[in-house]
C-alpha cells in the first residue's frame, strides 16, 4: 500500500510563504508528477513528504497514519535525488545495500535484493565499480537501484533526469515508466519539464508560487486548463494568447483586437455573454492553427505575416505577426511558406480557450 494524503500543507521560510495550503490525495500505485517553474514550491513539498523539511502547518499521512513528526527513515519512503547523491567512497553494490544494512537485513537477503534490482536496471556488471567510474546514465540507474531494493511504500523523485543529456533523458523516461508499471509502487515525481510531466504522470499537479493551480490527468490539463498559467505551461510550443474585446454583432459574439476579428462559435459565445464590452484573453494552441485552404471556410480566419520559419522535419513552426501581437503556428511540413509571406490563417474555433483578463481563470 502507498496512499499519500496532504491536508492543508503550508511552508514558511522566515517571511517567505513557500508552499500555500496544498491539498492532495495520491492513490496507491499512482504516479503523480508535481510540475512548475523553479521556485514554485514543488521540491519543498516533496521534501516535506520525505521528512527532510519541517511542515509549518497541515498534515501529511501515508496509509492513514500522520507522519508529520516521523524521521525520514521511519516513513518507509525512498528518494532519488537530482544529483544522484551516491556515496562516492562506496561501490555500486554497497551504495545499493546501504539502506538494507542500516535496517539490519541479513547478508543473503541483501545480496538477493541487490542482484534483483541490478538485473531490472541492467547494471549487474557495474556492482564493483565506484560511482566516479560510471557515466551519468549509469549513476542514475544506481540511484534508482538504491531506491528499489528497499521495497518502500512510496518513491520520491526530485528532478531525477535533469542532469542527463536530452537523448538519454528520453530513454530513461521510458524506462522509468516501464519500471513503475512493473513495480506498481506509488511514485511522486518532481520536474520542471512539462513533457516529462505529461508522459510520466497518471495525474499531474501544476504549481506556481506555492499554490496548486490544477490537478488532473495529462490530457485534462491539455484540453481543459483551469487558468492561463496552466494553459501556457502545458504543451510545447506554448499556447498563443491574445487580448481581445468581446462585442456583439448581428446576434453573434465577436472577439477582436488590432489584428484579429473572430466570430466566436456558439458554444464559446454562450459562456461569454456576461463579458460583452469587456476585455478577455483568447488562447489558441499552435497546433490548432493552419494555413487556410478551401476546406476551412467554416473556421474563423485572420491575416498574418511570417517572421521566422522553423523547420523541424515533422512539422513547421511559423512565428507570425498578427496585428500588434505575435503567434506561433504549427503547420504541416508540406506547407510552402517563407519569411515575410502574407498568410491567411485558419483557427480551429472548437478548440478556443478563453480566460478572464484579470483573474486569468478559464471562462
Amino acid at each position: 500500500m502507498g496512499q499519500v494524503v496532504l491536508k492543508g500543507i503550508n511552508k514558511f521560510y522566515d517571511s517567505v510563504h513557500a508552499v500555500r495550503d496544498v491539498n492532495l490525495q495520491i492513490r496507491d500505485k499512482e504516479f503523480v508528477v508535481l510540475v512548475g517553474p523553479s521556485g514554485c514550491g514543488k521540491t519543498t513539498t516533496l521534501r516535506m513528504i520525505a521528512g527532510l523539511e519541517a511542515i509549518s502547518s497541515g498534515d501529511i499521512s501515508i496509509d492513514g497514519n500522520v507522519i508529520n513528526e516521523l524521521a525520514p527513515m521511519d516513513r518507509d519512503i525512498a528518494m532519488v535525488f537530482q544529483n544522484y547523491a551516491l556515496y562516492p567512497h562506496m561501490s555500486v553494490y554497497d551504495n545499493m545495500a546501504f539502506g538494507l544494512k542500516m535496517r539490519k537485513f541479513g547478508r543473503p537477503e541483501i545480496e538477493k535484493r541487490v542482484r534483483e534490482a541490478a538485473d531490472i536496471l541492467g547494471i549487474g556488471e557495474l556492482l564493483m565499480r565506484k560511482p566516479r567510474q560510471l557515466s551519468g546514465g549509469q549513476r542514475q540507474r544506481v540511484a534508482l537501484g538504491r531506491a528499489i531494493v528497499r521495497h518502500p511504500r512510496v518513491f520520491l523523485f526530485d528532478e531525477p533526469l535533469s542532469n542527463l543529456d536530452a537523448k538519454l533523458r528520453v530513454q530513461m523516461r521510458v524506462e522509468l515508466k516501464k519500471l513503475h508499471l512493473r513495480l506498481g509502487t506509488t511514485a511522486i515525481y518532481v520536474t520542471h519539464d512539462q513533457v516529462e510531466a505529461m508522459t510520466l504522470g497518471d495525474r499531474v499537479v501544476v504549481m506556481k508560487d506555492g499554490v496548486v493551480q490544477q490537478v488532473g490527468e495529462p490530457l485534462e490539463l491539455y484540453n481543459q486548463p483551469a487558468n492561463k498559467f496552466v494553459a501556457g505551461f502545458i504543451g510545447s510550443p506554448a499556447m498563443n494568447f491574445a487580448a481581445v474585446t468581446v462585442t456583439e454583432a448581428n446576434g453573434s459574439l465577436i472577439a477582436e483586437n488590432s489584428g484579429l476579428r473572430i466570430k466566436l462559435p456558439d458554444e464559446t459565445a454562450q459562456r461569454l455573454r456576461g463579458h460583452i464590452g469587456h476585455e478577455v484573453t483568447l488562447g489558441v494552441r499552435p497546433e490548432d492553427l493552419t494555413v487556410a485552404g478551401t476546406a476551412d471556410l467554416d473556421h474563423p480566419c485572420f491575416d498574418a505575416v511570417i517572421e521566422v520559419v522553423e523547420q523541424l522535419g515533422s512539422e513547421i513552426l511559423l512565428d507570425m505577426k498578427v496585428g500588434e501581437g505575435v503567434m506561433v503556428a504549427c503547420v504541416e511540413p508540406t506547407a510552402r511558406v517563407k519569411v515575410r509571406d502574407k498568410l491567411r490563417v485558419a483557427m480551429r474555433s472548437s478548440r478556443l480557450h478563453v480566460f478572464d483578463a484579470k483573474t486569468e481563470a478559464a471562462i
Partner: protein, 309 residues
C-alpha cells in the same frame, strides 16, 4: 595558387643566448634557480651545518674538532633528554587527539545553519591569530600560583580548599602546557575540517537519513570517510608543528620545574644556546629528524593513495 599567395611568417632567428633557452632543459633550470637558491640557503645549508656541528665538540667561541657520534652517545644516556623524548611524544599524542576531537566537533557545529554563522567562524580563529607568545603569557598568568584565576574560580565554587601550584608540580605543569597547546591548535583543526565538510554534499546526509542511518551512523559511514583525506593533511601539519613546538613551553615553564616539561626543541635550545654546547644542542635537534621524516613519509604516501583512488 592559393598556397603561393599565402605569406608564411618566419620569425627572425633568435640571438644565441635566447636560443639556449629554447631548449626546455635549460629553461627549466633557469626557472628553478631562484627556488633552489632560497631552499639551499635557508634549509639545506643550515641542515647540513647542523649535521656537521653535531659530530664535533664545538662550543660557543670554540670551533671544536671531529668527535664522531660522541654527542649522540652522550644524549642517549642523558636522563633529561629521555624525559624530553617521552614528553614530546606525550605532548604531541595527547594534544593531537584532543585537537582533532574538539576541532571536528566544532567544525560540525559550525557547518550548521544558524544566525551569526560568519561572525562565529571568524571569532573561532582568534586563538590562532593572536601571537602565541602573547597568548601564552596570558595563560601563564592564569596558571600563576598566586594570581591564578583558575584557582580563584575553583575555590569559589568550593572545589578546592588550597591553592594549586599549576606550574610548580611536574605533572600539573605538563597538563597545563597541553591545555594551552590544545586551546591554540583547535581553531586550525576546526576551520580546516569545516572547509573539508563543506565539500561534502548535504544531499549525501539526506540520502543516508532516508536510507535509515541514525545521526552517528551518518557520521561514521558517510562524513568521516569522506573527510578522511582532509583530516590526514590537517593532522600531518599539526603533528609536525606540535612535535617541534617551542614557544608555549619556553614561555610557560621554561622546561621546568626541574626539567620536567622539556620538549626536543626547548631542551636543544637550553643545551645549545643556554649552556653554549652548540654541538650537543645540534645533536638533540637532529634526534627529532627521523621521527618527523617518518611521519611525513607515511602521511604523504597515504595522501597519494587517496588521490590515485
Amino acid at each position: 595558387m592559393a598556397i603561393a599567395e599565402t605569406q608564411v611568417y618566419m620569425p627572425p632567428a633568435p640571438r644565441p643566448k635566447l636560443r639556449l633557452l629554447e631548449d626546455e632543459r635549460w629553461l627549466a633550470l633557469v626557472l628553478l634557480v631562484p627556488t633552489l637558491v632560497l631552499l639551499g640557503m635557508f634549509i639545506a645549508y643550515p641542515f647540513v651545518r647542523g649535521i656537521l656541528l653535531s659530530v664535533t665538540n664545538s662550543r660557543v667561541g670554540v670551533p671544536g674538532e671531529f668527535v664522531g657520534l660522541a654527542n649522540f652517545y652522550k644524549i642517549f644516556n642523558d636522563g633529561i633528554f629521555r624525559t624530553s623524548v617521552y614528553n614530546t611524544f606525550l605532548y604531541t599524542g595527547v594534544t593531537t587527539v584532543f585537537k582533532l576531537a574538539l576541532g571536528l566537533w566544532l567544525a560540525m557545529l559550525l557547518n550548521r545553519n544558524f544566525r551569526g554563522k560568519a561572525f562565529t567562524r571568524a571569532f573561532i580563529l582568534l586563538p590562532f591569530i593572536i601571537p602565541t607568545v602573547l597568548s601564552t603569557f596570558a595563560w601563564k598568568w592564569m596558571f600563576d600560583p598566586t594570581f591564578s584565576v583558575l584557582n580563584w574560580l575553583l575555590y569559589h565554587f568550593g572545589l578546592i580548599t588550597g591553592r594549586i601550584n599549576w606550574l610548580g608540580d611536574p605533572d600539573l605543569a605538563m597538563i597545563s602546557i597541553i591545555i594551552v597547546n590544545i586551546w591554540r591548535g583547535v581553531p586550525f583543526y576546526a576551520i580546516s575540517l569545516l572547509a573539508g565538510l563543506q565539500t561534502i554534499s548535504p544531499e549525501l546526509g539526506e540520502a543516508a537519513a532516508i536510507d535509515g542511518a541514525r545521526p552517528w551512523q551518518r557520521f561514521w559511514y558517510i562524513t568521516w570517510p569522506l573527510l578522511l583525506p582532509v583530516t590526514m593533511v590537517v593532522v600531518l601539519f599539526s603533528v609536525i608543528q606540535t612535535f617541534a613546538d617551542f614557544q608555549i613551553v619556553y614561555v610557560m615553564t621554561g622546561g621546568g620545574p626541574a626539567n620536567a616539561t622539556h620538549l626536543f626543541a626547548t631542551y636543544a635550545y637550553q643545551i645549545g644556546i643556554g649552556t653554549g654546547l652548540l654541538s650537543e644542542g645540534a645533536a638533540i635537534s637532529l634526534a627529532m629528524f627521523p621521527v618527523l621524516f617518518l611521519v611525513v613519509i607515511i602521511q604523504l604516501l597515504y595522501i597519494r593513495r587517496v588521490e590515485v583512488r
